[in-house]
């Protein structure tokens, strides 16, 4: 499934520019070191972390989009850095669990 299709289907809000691409799965973690060691390129990364370091970890692995859940506010500094490095940041009012459940129901794993 393509990223833009996921944004539309799951009513995600884009905080950055979006470059459409194929997604390879979903990874849930609030630890950057865990993402660095275990996430896969093209994954959607669900997290409640909002600080600038998420851009550094997402860019290293080439994550397709960071989805900040629970309606957490993302600071302007983080969005600015993400746009510069072409990292896509999306938000959802749902929790990690609720959004992951919807993904699984839609056949995304």
């Amino acid at each position: 499934m393509k990223l833009q299709e996921i944004i539309n289907k799951f009513e995600l809000k884009a905080l950055t520019h979006v470059e459409d691409r194929e997604i390879t799965g979903v990874y849930i973690s609030d630890m950057l070191s865990d993402v660095m060691s275990s996430a896969q390129a093209g994954n959607l990364w669900l997290t409640i972390q909002t600080h600038k370091n998420i851009v550094s970890a997402a860019n290293l692995i080439d994550i397709s989009a960071v989805i900040v859940t629970n309606g957490k506010q993302v600071l302007g500094d983080t969005i600015e850095l993400a746009n510069r490095f072409h990292v896509v940041i999306l938000t959802s009012p749902l929790s990690n669990f609720e959004l992951a459940t919807k993904f699984i129901q839609a056949g995304i794993k």
């Binding site: 660095m36 290293l60 692995i61 080439d62």
Partner: protein, 178 residues
């Protein structure tokens, strides 16, 4: 397959979560960092020769080695304390200049750094940095962007660098017992 002929396909191995502990000697003000894989690393003040070390902070991190899937060559990375993404904070910095050159090709610059103090720890060799770069570029699998990994030796003043470090602070509190 023989190592010399192998085109190497690196994968992470010996992955250990742990903590990067930062401590400071109150007598000479020297700062030291080390990796601890213990659940409860020593956090109280201790004496080592002429130094009196006090824990200043900790961050969750991960230690790993790289191993070739084809020829089983193992590259230990015990010297690697972490990596950070250059954000272009100082136009006089050699890393910043490199990033300005590479950014138009969508090549992003990361800095691999070792433990402190650098004069008392084993530095990451250029060969190992090149292997780490190969590994992450292979893992990214991207045809539209790349990463370039350089040594922290290129940074004149590490303490005033605003690069974004990949580490986890505050998720598990490791504070000295009062």
């Amino acid at each position: 397959m023989q190592e010399q002929q192998c085109s190497h396909h690196w994968e992470m191995t010996n992955v250990h979560p742990g903590f990067i502990i930062t401590e400071k000697c109150f007598k000479c003000n020297k700062t030291s960092t080390y990796f601890s894989a213990e659940d409860s690393p020593p956090l109280e003040e201790y004496r080592e020769g002429e130094h009196f070390w006090n824990v200043m902070g900790s961050a969750q991190s991960v230690r790993f080695d790289l191993k070739c899937k084809n020829c089983n060559t193992l590259v230990p990375l015990k010297e690697l304390a972490g990596m950070m993404m250059c954000t272009g904070c100082d136009e006089k910095c050699k890393v910043d200049k490199l990033m300005c050159d590479l950014e138009k090709e969508r090549t992003w610059v990361y800095v691999a750094f070792g433990f402190r103090p650098p004069e008392e720890t084993v530095p990451l060799s250029p060969e190992k940095i090149a292997i780490i770069e190969d590994y992450f570029n292979w893992r990214r699998g991207s045809t539209t962007s790349k990463i370039k990994i350089v040594s922290s030796d290129m940074i004149d003043d590490f303490d005033t660098c605003y690069a974004e470090v990949i580490k986890d602070i505050g998720l598990l509190s490791l504070t000295p017992v009062e």
